[in-house]
Symmetry: C2
Subunit: 478 residues, 2 copies
């Protein structure tokens, strides 16, 4: 690392890794920090004191977002130890950047009063966000600290659902009138002395607070100072409604490369603005949640949660999985007589079920993603089903044929090979069909297509695969 | 929709849906647009002409990003028809916003010359991006059109790998000197007349092009015009190296809420900048790819690719799945004698294998995600393994116990119930252990932990589950 790059991104990655390493490799550091043992009670005091000093220096140097990430990478006890070292001024910002998973641990030892003190370093939008989401109800106490006028606006934000634009919008915006010159705007800005974070544009409103245009900072700087706002502003800006779904807004931000955008009510009145940093968080959260849900994980589980919490968040999926496996097992049991006459069926049946599950999951993953990207519309559903069935048919013929041949050769039984081929083909077709129908039906029912799709398709391809294979065997081989 | 929100995000979503609906529900529109049939040859000419006029109006009205999304939501023939309607000036931008999956279709009928013509409406960074990624080699032809000085810079970008910051950075930047006043900067900007998209800051460099600070537009507007750049600039800005991994840079952007950041060489010289719009694309692509890979899908497959392409991109995973299923089937075959004596084993064994697969996949999903978030460091690996084993032990005792009880009751065989409980517990422990070890080992070997992890864990829990269960049955029940 050259001396010039004193603040390179890589250097900070290294500092974070070093901090985690220090906190997780030597239990003595943690017990000292938590006050369980004094420095003098421990051996190798020299190294330990050095390490603790280094921990302190790193905590003081790293900015809040990096501290938040570090906290997420630590088991509970180490988290507590680190959190104690974070100065009060930084704590609000660290909370803001940390994910919900670690909040419990962090605010564990803090009183309501201390928490509100830590929040006071944040701006009002950020305070509201935390107060709404922290696992402790502070809304009332926060509202009490605010002037009456702000309280009304806060109440307004609080009434939108979590996944709506209204809940993530900020109401700190700078507005200007259309009939002033850029020089006046510049003087006004200098008098204000600061702009909210991620301000790339001002909003132009009329006397009734109705949005009439947007004025980018670029525009202010590129145009002659004598020109009027109305001459240089964008007069048909893209706007959001507070009722819009946050994930859709994120797609629009990506599509149009926006940094901020106005949120207006149905009458066109400016209510606030959305900014790219909220949006990036929405994107990470959305894709993260999809991934976890497809894998049957709860969104709340964090990788360092204690065993008890992990058991609690996962038990439902395991129970569902056990139920479906049990049903599949009852199907096999129904063919006990067939299996006892031809034990080879017992070893071949997992192949039929497995390949169906694989294909079904491929199809579902693709459909869930396409739904999230709004790529699927009623008009192209038939095409999709036909395509997936076509793919399944080709794969069924090819791989079913190969497995049929191998079965014939292994057991010297042509009929068994034929049953194998036919069963694989039918199960693949069913997997493809259900792989499209399940997520589409869940959308129709107004549910999230990612939740449980994978479990359902596996249940169907297992149960169906066993039934098809053993049923065909009973028909043709007995 | 109120008359005020003439450009609301929701309205554009509706227009896109309408366009897709028009193009996919009436084949006559497509055959007319592709020139296969003339208008006069078709029945109900009035409606058809109206529909075609509406398609034309929508294509003319929708901005390039929306057109790109619409193209992605169409089967191949419809894509061609729509692409023909897009004006040449918009085509470059549409290509830029479209994903790799649809490029083949789009540039199918265009000559190299036409393609380069369409690209000329883009700025040089965008041209390079497309020329590098389009499935046709145009690099040489593009380089030939550039002045010598630019050619050297382009060559520099071309030499970085696709997943590096160097490959996605832009080199259109505005630089200023530290010793001038803000008034001079403002005059300079007005003379320039334009700024590159997503410019939220200028870069301050010395005589040798070494980055000495950053000057935000906000800072220019908030400070007195008589002040010097060096007095108001941020003098310790966050920088990236062109060799940094793009996904890590994306995390830093999210962490620090950046809109743009400087890319510098090891000597501190300014090379270019990274912007949030590239980063948002990286985030979507990264999480998308993870999701697809875990599901055993290739990143290149798009939901409307023809059957042949889908078969081609999926065959490898199916083959691997068949191989592992075949191995599992051979394990069962080895216990043929045991099964023929106790057919109940055949119906119970999928339960043991299934629950192991479920737990293993939960663990892997969590670890892959934590690795992507850089949450796992050598120091906390032991903690993780112990935690997952603990979760597995608890689940094994609870659910294994329940299933053992049910088995005992169903088959009136206490020993069989005991074997069931023990087998489930052992398979869950193995699943948890391998669920941590597999992705961690892949990272150690320098491979992507998301690729194939799910297939490997399922193979292990299936084969292992069958072996453990049937092996225990042979030991204790025969």
């Amino acid at each position: 690392m050259s001396a010039f790059n004193k603040n390179s991104a890589r250097l900070r990655d290294e500092e974070r890794a070093r901090l985690i390493w220090l906190l997780t490799t030597d239990k003595a550091i943690i017990s000292t920090l938590l006050g369980k043992l004094t420095l003098a009670e421990q051996y190798d005091v020299g190294t330990l004191a050095d390490d603790i000093a280094e921990v302190g220096a790193l905590v003081a140097h790293l900015p809040p977002p990096d501290l938040a990430d570090t906290l997420e990478a630590l088991p509970s006890e180490e988290r507590h130890a680190l959190w104690r070292l974070v100065q009060n001024e930084k704590r609000g910002n660290v909370l803001l950047e940390a994910s919900e998973n670690v909040w419990d641990d962090l605010i564990d030892e803090m009183s309501d009063r201390e928490l509100l003190d830590a929040l006071q370093y944040l701006d009002i939008d950020e305070q509201i966000y935390l107060v709404q989401h922290l696992p402790r109800n502070l809304t009332g106490r926060l509202l009490a600290t605010l002037p009456a006028e702000e309280r009304a606006r806060v109440r307004q934000v609080l009434h939108y659902e979590k996944n709506r634009v209204g809940a993530i919008m900020e109401f700190e915006v700078i507005t200007v009138r259309p009939d002033v010159t850029l020089e006046v705007v510049q003087r006004y800005l200098r008098r204000l002395g600061r702009m909210p974070e991620n301000t790339d544009k001002l909003f132009v409103t009329d006397r009734n607070k109705v949005l009439v245009g947007e004025l980018t900072l670029t525009c202010i700087l590129l145009n002659d100072v004598q020109r009027k706002v109305s001459e240089v502003m964008e007069d048909d800006p893209l706007t959001f409604s507070p009722e819009d779904i946050a994930e859709n807004a994120a797609r629009t931000f990506e599509r149009d490369n926006l940094v901020s955008a106005a949120v207006v009510d149905p009458a066109g009145k400016l209510m606030g603005r959305l900014t790219i940093d909220e949006i990036v968080d929405v994107v990470y959260e959305e894709t993260d949640t999809d991934l976890r849900r497809m894998g049957g994980l709860s969104a709340e589980e964090d990788v360092f949660a204690p065993v008890t919490k992990a058991v609690k968040t996962r038990w439902a999926w395991l129970a569902i999985n056990l139920c479906t496996a049990f049903i599949a097992s009852r199907v096999i049991d129904g063919f006990e007589h067939t299996i006892s006459q031809l034990v080879a069926l017992a070893s071949l049946m997992p192949i039929v079920a497995g390949i169906g599950g694989n294909t079904g999951n491929q199809t579902i993953t693709m459909i869930v993603r396409a739904l999230a990207l709004q790529n699927i519309q009623p008009g192209n559903l038939t095409f999709l089903i036909l395509r997936e069935m076509g793919v399944a048919l080709v794969n069924g013929l090819v791989w079913g044929g190969i497995m049929g041949g191998i079965t014939w050769w292994l057991y010297d039984d042509m009929a068994l090979g034929g049953v194998m081929t036919l069963a694989m083909m039918l199960n693949l077709l069913m997997a493809a069909l259900m792989g499209v129908i399940i997520p589409m039906t869940m959308v129709k029912l107004g549910r999230d297509p990612a939740v449980g799709s994978s479990v359902m398709i596996t249940a169907i391809t297992d149960t169906g695969g066993f039934f098809i294979f053993l049923g065909l065997a009973t028909l043709f081989l007995m």
